[in-house]
Symmetry: C2
């Protein structure tokens, strides 16, 4: 497997993503954009890209902040996320340039694209979908579901799978229900999996070490949601 740092631009901001793919193959493969959470481009997202590459996909981890930085302090994360989300058009653009970079890669079949995201990255992926990006699918893991600009009827091209923890205080039932309504009104093919007894950050094996009480790893929900994503990708890329 080949992994490498890969640079691209969002206006004047230089972003540094992480690419993973099987370099022993020469066929065009589906490209998966992986958008990390508010902590930035860290080990968890890189590991997901490598797991996707082993499944036969070309995976690019998008860089939310620039220079591939990680943020460890929760206050700083909150500030950085707020700054990013202030302007929805710019927020969508930050994910769009990563998707454009992925689409441009010679290994990627531009007709078979998906975006997955964790926490803030889930919101990135959903905003790409709401904006009409040419994605076959979107999968979010403990991703934020709220938006300033709900999708209009027929705008969303992606099929959507949301994986969420029932005890995630940042994604309460009210958000889940509002999202379901939004997607139904927009005519989207969607399904939502709610995992019982599961907190925010359930895919982060290092969640405990961050010392944030409402973030907790769940091996069960992590493995189940990954399996759900795999089945979903097999379905949507077989049909594409």
């Amino acid at each position: 497997m080949k992994t490498e740092s890969i640079e691209y631009q969002d206006g004047t901001v230089t972003l540094r993503g992480f690419l993973a793919y099987d370099d022993t193959k020469s066929d065009l493969r589906p490209g998966i954009l992986v958008m990390p959470g508010g902590f930035g481009l860290g080990a968890n997202a890189k590991q997901r890209a490598e797991m996707l590459a082993r499944l036969g996909y070309v995976a690019l981890v998008g860089d939310p902040y620039g220079n591939g930085i990680e943020i460890n302090d929760l206050q700083e994360v909150m500030q950085a996320v707020s700054a990013l989300r202030e302007d929805l058009a710019k927020f969508r653009q930050r994910a769009q340039v990563a998707l454009d970079k992925l689409t441009s890669l010679p290994q990627v079949d531009p007709r078979r694209l998906a975006a997955i995201g964790y926490c803030l990255g889930g919101t990135f992926a959903l905003e790409l979908a709401r904006g009409g990006a040419p994605l076959t699918g979107v999968v979010t893991f403990h991703g934020g579901l709220e938006t300033q600009r709900p999708a209009g009827l027929g705008q969303v091209k992606a099929k959507i799978l949301v994986c969420t923890g029932a005890d995630d205080p940042s994604v309460p039932v009210a958000h889940v229900n509002a999202f379901a309504d939004e997607m139904t009104k927009a005519g989207v093919d969607w399904h939502i999996i709610s995992y019982g007894g599961t907190a925010h950050g359930f895919t982060y094996p290092d969640a405990e070490s961050r010392g944030i009480p409402w973030i907790a790893y769940s091996k069960l929900a992590d493995e189940r949601s990954w399996q759900a994503m795999r089945s979903f990708f097999e379905e949507i890329f077989a049909a594409a």
Copy 2:
């Protein structure tokens, strides 16, 4: 594959189930109880049993009414379901005798049991779980989630997967949320998949022919929920 009609008793009522298994194998296999919906023991449930047998399970379709009868008239179905559900202990017993029959079969590993159910059959499967039946897992498809006797803490041995249609008028969001609360309080390992744009009866290929406006087949939700069940069984029986 071997299929056969199989008789068992609930008190004075003679029930006639449908058994399916691979008779070229001699090892002990997980046993899956399949509880059909309010239309009774018909072609849909039998087909599920055969699909489960092809996956390597021993599948018994339980008979809700006796003599393996089917009911086609919706009014009659409503009456028959009401009569069954009047007494919760008897209702649970109707599923328990089917589970007992399955457990007694020489091909079945009594430590690896699950129950799945459709519509009313989903309620049967959940009531078995609430009553503490020795099930490794329960999966419901457009099943009724309400109960007269919510599960107490630690009572439920089964891990539970609920597959439900977001547009199913018989399983509104309020029922889903109440069920999630019940299961969380009872300490159950649960997850719920909600399928967008999906009505009641989404696994019934013959739904349209029944002329009931709130029942509709969905190939997508049918195939996705079946795949979710398969992944769930692989997980729980590997760990059991």
